[in-house]
Symmetry: C2
């Protein structure tokens, strides 16, 4: 069968790349992560996992809000910058044009094609290096130029994904097939 | 600013696509999902969210093991098939060549480029439609033909990702930049 054992690391390949927004000491801060996933459909819930002690964590806990902003090819340098430098050392409040939604304290990035505004639902200890923030997605904001027939268009958004194996960002190729269609008549 | 509100849905775009493996009634079953994410680095932990009452859920709880298998372009039809049809109705135990690792009860897909074998750490109620299974990744198996210099190579693996906006699968394009490098000298 020719399988090689790679050990116990995290090999989810690829992972989405997002910028998590939080107000810290009343100033917007943005942190790039790939440990993110949807965990519930109804209501829509998302989790982001942050290494314990991250600068943003206290802000999320204090305000009980955060945002999740899509990283795109156009934002690749700023995205990487927000993953390298901590808000404890550099001021990231002026990197982007910031806007707020109905929760008032979850800063979002105007330049990001798509932003999700989240109300903190739960803080969970992973039992290891990371703390998990579960949020209910209360609203999603998409810039009009990235919509087609009222829906976000990945071909326009050009999101980037993270390859943890080579520590690099990848772009998307093309839409290959319709889900819940292409395998309908599959015969094993 | 031109932002359109899309409501409270889950707009994480794109999401990874994986086949979750579990033994149910002592037979391997595989379920395709996109609600998956890494939640801890040390130890490596992954979460998968399944709609409550899924056929695989009881098997995961009983054996306290599951697997996460990468969906690739080559497996796109079988992947979609495993997302459409429940194990309660069709027998998915012979769709793939199945192998087991050290946990003995987490079935993995030989044809999948990369499989993570997980020990169940926690079952969490999302508070809504989904149940969350957190697992510690105890081992990762990669077929040799997908490795370059001993590491998984995304260019060879050709994973697919899910676009929930158009309900379609996308392939990856190319590696765009090194993470923790391209934004090092970024000047806002």
């Amino acid at each position: 069968m020719g399988k090689t054992k790679l050990g116990s690391g995290s090999h989810l390949l690829p992972m989405p790349v997002v910028l998590v927004g939080a107000n810290v000491n009343d100033r917007p801060n943005f942190l790039t992560i790939a440990y993110v996933g949807i965990v519930c459909h109804t209501p829509a819930m998302i989790e982001v996992a942050l290494r314990k002690g991250r600068f943003s964590s206290d802000g999320i806990k204090k305000n009980e809000t955060f945002s999740v902003n899509t990283a795109s090819v156009d934002l690749i340098e700023a995205t990487d910058y927000c993953g390298i430098y901590s808000g404890a050392k550099v001021d990231k409040s002026r990197l982007f044009e910031v806007f707020y939604g109905e929760l008032k304290t979850a800063p979002m990035i105007a330049e990001s094609p798509l932003s999700m505004e989240c109300r903190l639902a739960k803080v969970l200890d992973s039992g290891g290096s990371h703390e998990i923030f579960r949020g209910e997605i209360v609203e999603t904001y998409c810039s009009e130029e990235y919509l087609t027939d009222g829906r976000p268009d990945l071909g326009k958004i050009k999101p980037i994904v993270y390859d943890g194996s080579s520590s690099s960002y990848w772009g998307l190729g093309e839409s290959l097939a319709r889900a819940f269609q292409v395998g309908k008549d599959y015969k094993p």
